[in-house]
Symmetry: C2
Subunit: 644 residues, 2 copies
């Protein structure tokens, strides 16, 4: 029996014996599962496994209740050592090791090649290296914002230390005093291409120290010294890293320090020899049989509940009057603040967290920051880290917003969001500067793919509101919603969208509903489908066309990834749809509509207006003119098309 | 007259006087242009300008010949200080300062908000912070690979030092001994949100030192000490950083250390006061007039020639026989090596560079690495840096390949490639592990957006070859071509595509032509449009359909971003096209075809088969079955569709 926690000064002899026995069994499991799958990463698994066995034994977790509230979080950044993780979780009592051995890397089994968070005990899916420490910062903040005392352990590899995102995460942890964060690096000094000192020399200890971390060294295969190091790390009042010296392939004579076993399983013959060295019976026949029959032993999936709707108050919607002079980003900032305030006043509400990368005044989260300094995280110019911290935090019951310019919140952090989505995060990304509406900052800052990029990420919902009223209602509606969301808006002031009678279109009765499009103007000579900054210009064009005898409908499509079937059917009846967007013309709203028309065999033709090449720097109006996107261009295009 | 170079121990008094005068004039220019544009970043420009004036005065560059071969490269990473860059280039003699003042941030003028490389003297467009040092590494390598002695200077801001990509670039510079690289940091200690020490505490000197750089401190407004620091940096035989203490808004009393002027221009009244402090006449009327008339004074655009076709030998194409058992990535590796060898033997050929991120054995560049160690750059697990280094290097006459898995070469480095494209780079990105064909590594490693992401980047050409023969010919064809290219391929072995007579389809006569599709099988009951890993399965499906009396054509579409008009017209005649792809079904080949059908009013319907959600981990065949992409699924779908 091993006592959890770090109260004892040393491990008892019985504990050491038990840990050794677990590790021995794990090594057998690792070799069996990788050889059975004929793929996987045994070498690093054998070097990490003693660390994993010890951390899973001592952390405040409960194998019978893997979702125990207030538990310590254990996150493994180098997800390719899944055999070490699965076997050590199994041998700690989380599930039957036979399930992992027989099902490893088999389609239809949970035991994927990189660790999968539906496996009890796995908190975060990793596999793309260098993001785990950021995710660990997010989990650590979850403890803090929920007022809990839990610790966060992040196991990492040495090769991945080269990734810059880790430096960002180190600084973030120090700035925010994440003293309950403990990193353990599996320092086996080998990576795929050879010695880490040859592949990319990296002063790991020096870099952690320069960034203000406590650095502790240990023997990663000696439980007593490893425990002492962990105990010291846990108690030293600083974010701490244990650099644990290990041996790749540890425990099997012919595998030790052989880099080829990083990513290759041993043969059946070698396996027999290895198991015999480890004193483990060779029972591969039974696993092979289960695998061949595609019937690996199952496990009870006890992945912790993905938060559905969070307890978040929607506050009091703001009705911007017809003559309001403001921009969508200010409406976002005001709605966010109001929702957070209303929630703070209601006991039992989810805590909020807002992340900024040195742009809070522009992206309008500065007021939230002043009002809720404990819930506002200034990450500086470290977008990769901010996106992952926020994503991980959002997966643990916190209403989490990451606001940034489009080129940073979409383009720079694209892969971080892909991984957030894979992890069933619930992050709200708000990008306040999208399109050439960004203007004078020029092409490096014109985000032209806020739909086109996010269309690739299966779970991300995308909302492009038309005006301050729709922005207000959308932000309130999604604040507590599950899943990842992008809300994208232009930079400039934009008029309140009005009904024909001059009153606000998105009025007191309006409620935002994902996937619903809005008929801003009726008219079926043709339909102009638009979104975001170009909405007022589409309306102006419809007005001008009316003067010329053409009745053009204007359809606002704030949810281009989920088109509105009723509206699309109705639009198609006009025969010709014009898509009109401040976005790359090939990948945005027009492309979504093209797909929809063909998938649903709608009898409509499509004419696309959008951005066809990088735009220069200049005032928004000048750029729209230069790029063929002014109201006049649209009118001309409609007339020309209807003429032919 | 200022003498170029760093031979003299000190600046002469006359030189100091001249530099001071230039800086004074520059400060006037900076204020005029930002106030005229009512936007821009005067604060940081005033703190950087003395550094810029000195570097442009001393570096081995020639204002009358900005493209001088062998010149020093001066790269400014914090592109928002464009007023400092434009004015100091102008006052060094590159062009008329009036052009920059009147045209600043005006649509139709070259003087964009962030520095633009069509401006003589600007080597690389920046604006998204944190990438400049990587680009500087690329420029430094260009000198080395061309056998030239030039230096590379990288000017940076202090706030951007938080970006992790900079840590990656530091390590790369040390590993590759880029001793001719000198960084100067404008250390004004302020960023948008306030003091850099509050926004994100960062031990800048300590981090550079930990990574092995020489750190030199200087007063960034005192030319004599700044020159000494630069001279020492240039001569110390290490990559060196000068941390130059500066004052934001330096030179105008009411602007100094006022953070608001980071991103805001001063008013007309304040400008008058500031110009008077600087002793500069207020001649704003003339610039305002020119700007209003949209006729800013022009400059002679002398941006250095973008390399068109590089001198690269295509080597000897390999014809893989009908029964070859190999994969596309091996064919890539062999073609790359052959092209490089053939070029190396031919005097006057462009040098090659191949970048790896610890995957050379998998991505098949290892043999190139052994054969050409001086041209092979092992960047370790530092993809952001590798992508930017390679991009910048590719813009300077080097045949440059960056090979990686899809999730790293496309997803993780998406924004780096966007900026490479904006910079007219000529980078060849080869992603060897795309689609669920990646198999057991699971969803974190399944790149499902290699078309969908790159469709957003205007200039990127995308090639998805069907088999080893097409891969061979495509790699040889593009090696010397201008522009950015992605060549994407699956991981698994794949059969040679054969004609009906059993001989290789891509035979000795075949030459790769961008935008051309291939009719692998004729048949016009319907057409299956496909690419990459699914090509052999599409052919198998067509064979099975034939047995059932359905004549299905099979169209290989290796260039989904540029569809083949003839092939598409012919395919449309079949009435129904099936797109069949190992890619996100919403954003890949099917979506490109949908767009094309509607843009060209083709009379065809479209049925899309592709990946509809994240796939698990497993063998490729099992995954295709599980995701509805097996040959049998395709046959069934065709029959079902034609039946209705």
């Amino acid at each position: 029996m091993i006592e959890r926690g770090f109260a004892a000064e040393k491990l008892s002899r019985a504990e050491v014996d038990e840990l050794r026995e677990r590790s021995r069994l794990c090594r057998g499991d690792i070799l069996k599962m990788t050889t059975l799958a004929s793929s996987g990463h045994p070498g690093g698994s054998m070097s990490t496994v003693d660390i994993a066995v010890l951390v899973y034994a001592k952390a405040n977790i409960d194998p019978r209740n893997p979702c125990m509230p207030g538990r310590d979080y254990v996150l493994v950044s180098h997800g390719h050592v899944s055999p070490a993780v699965y076997s050590s979780l199994a041998r700690t009592g989380f599930f039957d090791p036979a399930a992992a051995i027989a099902g490893y890397r088999l389609a239809g089994s949970l035991f994927e090649g990189h660790i999968e968070h539906q496996i009890p005990g796995v908190e975060w899916i990793t596999g793309n290296l260098g993001q785990g420490l950021s995710a660990g910062c997010g989990l650590s903040l979850a403890h803090r914002l929920h007022g809990r005392k839990g610790r966060t352990f992040v196991l990492m590899s040495d090769g991945e230390q080269a990734k810059g995102q880790i430096a960002e995460a180190r600084r973030f942890a120090v700035k925010y005093g994440l003293t309950d964060l403990t990193v353990v690096i599996d320092f086996n000094e080998l990576q795929i291409s050879g010695s880490i000192h040859d592949v990319m020399p990296n002063n790991i200890a020096g870099c952690f120290e320069a960034d203000g971390w406590a650095v502790i060294r240990a023997d990663g295969h000696d439980f007593q010294t490893l425990y002492s190091a962990l105990r010291s790390a846990v108690n030293d009042g600083k974010p701490s890293v244990v650099i644990a010296k290990t041996v790749m392939g540890k425990g099997v004579s012919f595998m030790e320090n052989v880099v080829e076993y990083h990513g290759s399983a041993v043969s059946r013959e070698q396996l027999a020899k290895a198991l015999s060295e480890l004193g483990i019976p060779n029972d591969m026949d039974r696993f092979e049989k289960a695998r061949k029959e595609f019937r690996p032993p199952g496990i009870e999936v006890r992945s912790c509940p993905i938060e559905t709707n969070l307890a978040v108050s929607q506050g009091s919607p703001v009705l911007y009057p017809a003559d309001a002079s403001t921009d969508n980003r200010s409406a976002f900032g005001a709605a966010l603040l109001d929702v957070a305030k209303a929630s703070a006043q209601k006991p039992g509400s989810a805590p909020f967290a807002v992340f900024d990368c040195d742009l809070s005044v522009s992206v309008k989260t500065a007021k939230f920051g002043s009002e809720f300094p404990r819930n506002f995280f200034q990450a500086g110019v470290q977008e990769h880290n901010a996106a992952t911290v926020a994503g991980a935090l959002s997966s643990k019951g916190v209403a989490c917003f990451f606001a940034d310019f489009g080129v940073f919140g979409v383009d720079e952090t694209y892969n971080q969001h892909r991984l957030n989505d894979i992890n069933w995060a619930n992050l709200k990304v708000v990008c306040t500067h999208v399109g050439i509406d960004v203007g004078e900052d020029g092409k490096t800052h014109h985000c032209l793919d806020y739909v086109g990029a996010m269309r690739n990420i299966f779970g991300f919902n995308v909302v492009v509101p038309a005006d301050p009223n729709q922005t207000d209602r959308a932000i309130r509606a999604i604040a507590g919603k599950p899943g990842c969301w992008l809300v994208a808006m232009g930079r400039s002031k934009t008029p309140v969208v009005k009904k024909a009678d001059g009153t606000p279109f998105f009025d007191k009765e309006y409620a935002f509903e994902y996937g619903k499009a809005d008929w801003l103007r009726e008219g079926f000579d043709c339909v102009i489908a638009t979104m975001g900054s170009l909405v007022p210009r589409a309306i102006a064009a419809a007005d001008k066309l009316k003067e010329k005898g053409v009745k053009a409908g204007v359809l606002n499509v704030p949810c281009p990834k989920q088109l509105d079937p009723d509206a699309m059917r109705k639009a198609a009846e006009a025969g010709v749809i014009f898509s009109y967007e401040d976005h790359n013309v090939h990948t945005g709203l027009g492309s979504c509509i093209a797909d929809y028309i063909l998938e649903n065999s709608l009898p409509a033709s499509l004419v696309k207006l959008g951005v066809r090449h990088y735009a220069p720097s200049g005032r928004t109006e000048d750029l729209y003119r230069e790029m063929g996107l002014s109201t006049e261009h649209l009118v001309e295009k409609v007339l020309e098309t209807l003429r032919t």
